[in-house]
């Protein structure tokens, strides 16, 4: 058997793959947070809860309406995005003129409400969501076994992240968006409906979380706590990466997932902690984050 650093290669590569999967979720969630923060200047604490909502909506679509995984990949982001529009228009919009810390407090409240409601409705035990038949099984690559679904998740996440990056950095819409981030008043003077743009930015950010939720449903059991487990790690990811750069959030997310995967090979007890320790280290040497602008 091939050994790498005294560890069997299949084990090491398997953990790296697991790390990549976690990293895929960190990347999608921190990307959404960064997009929302750029435009609204608010950290969306409810991001984890909306990710969890995405998983639950996928489960509901399957069990109440018989709608399967692939349609859910399109429908769920739309539904979660619509929920985002509702949230932004009703309770988040009044906060733009005050200290951004209140945005964090308010969205924390939203997260509590959503989690409490799902816990009341479905308990904390977790509901299983089957891997779709066309993605079950796996491929023996010789050096390791690759479960098809896991490969699919990493690929889908990478494509969605890349598409978001292209939209923001390379299209006309993205250019307007970035301009509005820099100076909303000036962009409005050019006749752009900035408030509507803000609403759809928020919706887009949380739709990403919803999409991630569908992908997560077959991997983790669908349960009310899945959001909170992710959101705090994602905050650390955001602090490490800094929210100045879209590409930065994506790269940081995937990289930290891999670091976490490697840690669970060499020191399993530290797997939960390693990302926070990396954050502490980054704060020491580069307080504004790896890709952050001066804040």
């Amino acid at each position: 058997m091939v050994m790498i650093f005294g560890v069997p290669a299949p084990l090491l590569l398997g953990q790296i793959l697991l790390g990549l999967i976690n990293g895929a979720f960190y990347a999608m969630l921190s990307l959404g947070l960064a997009v929302i923060f750029g435009m609204l200047n608010i950290i969306n604490f409810a991001h984890g809860a909306l990710f969890m909502t995405g998983a639950f909506v996928a489960w509901m679509l399957l069990h109440y309406a018989g709608i399967g995984f692939y349609p859910a990949l399109v429908l769920v982001p739309l539904i979660v995005g619509a929920l985002g529009v509702l949230l932004e228009r009703t309770i988040i919009a009044p906060l733009y003129k005050i200290d951004p810390i209140y945005g964090l407090l308010l969205t924390f409240g939203v997260a509590l409400v959503i989690e409490g409601l799902f816990r009341n409705g479905y308990g904390s035990a977790g509901l299983p969501y089957e891997i779709p038949a066309s993605l079950s099984g796996g491929a023996q690559l010789g050096f390791m076994f690759l479960p098809t679904y896991r490969g699919f998740v990493v690929l889908a996440a990478a494509i969605v992240c890349f598409a978001t990056w292209v939209t923001i950095e390379k299209t006309r819409l993205g250019a307007t968006l970035r301009a509005a981030t820099e100076n909303a008043l000036l962009v409005r003077a050019f006749g752009v409906n900035v408030p509507r743009m803000i609403t759809f930015t928020f919706a887009g950010g949380v739709a990403l979380a919803g999409f991630a939720g569908v992908l997560a449903a077959p991997i983790y059991t669908v349960n009310p706590d899945m959001g909170e487990n992710f959101i705090i790690v994602v905050f650390a990811v955001v602090v490490i990466g800094g929210m100045g750069s879209i590409l930065g959030s994506i790269v940081t997310g995937f990289a930290l997932g891999v670091i976490q995967g490697l840690t669970s090979v060499f020191y399993p007890e530290g797997a939960n902690m390693v990302i926070f320790l990396v954050m502490a280290f980054v704060l020491l040497v580069l307080p504004r984050g790896l890709f952050g602008k001066v804040a």
């Binding site: 950290i43 009341n120 954050m279």
Partner: protein, 314 residues
Amino acid sequence: MRGDVRKPSHDYLVGFLCMLACIVIAPWVLYPLFLMRVLCYAIFVMAFNLLAGYSGLVSFGHAAFFGMGAYAAAWSAKNLGISAEVAVAIGGLAGAALGVVIGWLSIRRTGIYFAMITLALAQLVYFFCVQVPFTHGENGIQQVPRLKLFGAIPLNGSMAMYWFTAGVFILCFLAVHRIIHSPFGKVLQAIRENEPRATSLGHRTKTYKLIAFVLSALFSGVAGGLLALVFGFATLESVRYTTSGEVVLMALVGGFGTVFGPLTGSLVLSAMENYLASFGSWVTVAEGAIFIAAVLAFRRGIIGEVMAKLKVSL
């Protein structure tokens, strides 16, 4: 995040005497155990408020100091054969020691980054507590004795423990009041209002913020240690991020940067939790709804609104 910077006034003295009277009368009206919980959390909220309300640093990780204080006090109460006030002091020291490390790291950023960093570091402390043997994992440290005050007065009876808790609360209250109205406290408030300007006046703002952070962690540890003695256990629940959220909510409902806000917030939220305890997760939903309502409709909190209505400073 406005706190009043004026001198302690007549209004304040009246408020303080009313509070003392309430603390003395309360155990004949309400359950002492409930009141002790309210007072412990009020100390915790005062500690948080010292940092958030007066220094402008809103931490989302204060459960780390509270929980560490609880564990340290519970462990030493069980194993060291000390008296009650020493156990609570050990809780405070444990909180302060952790505060030095977490504060030193997190004051490098401000605003929402500060909130996220403290949350993440507190989660690190949580996972640490899950792993290490001395916390006894999911079970927590159970059957913690209430000990004797000064090694002589037993605190097993609920009234004796109540007076001890009330005494610690009042000491903390006066200490926090002294800090806020000291020259040190004035500089903190100046930093909150305009940090570059405070720097330009020659103050080392980083040092001030770190000291405020450590003091806040110290009082949080005292609150956690006291709660561990009151209920006789210290569990993972006290280190969880939900506890951090709870203290933020209590401070917000009472009023950021007000002297009497912490006790008010602790009382209101504890009463609600007590009332809704049998309804399962509806407590979480209610807490979330209060968060939303407080941010949207009464950011000044109960005491802040009263202050504005009556034009007094509390």
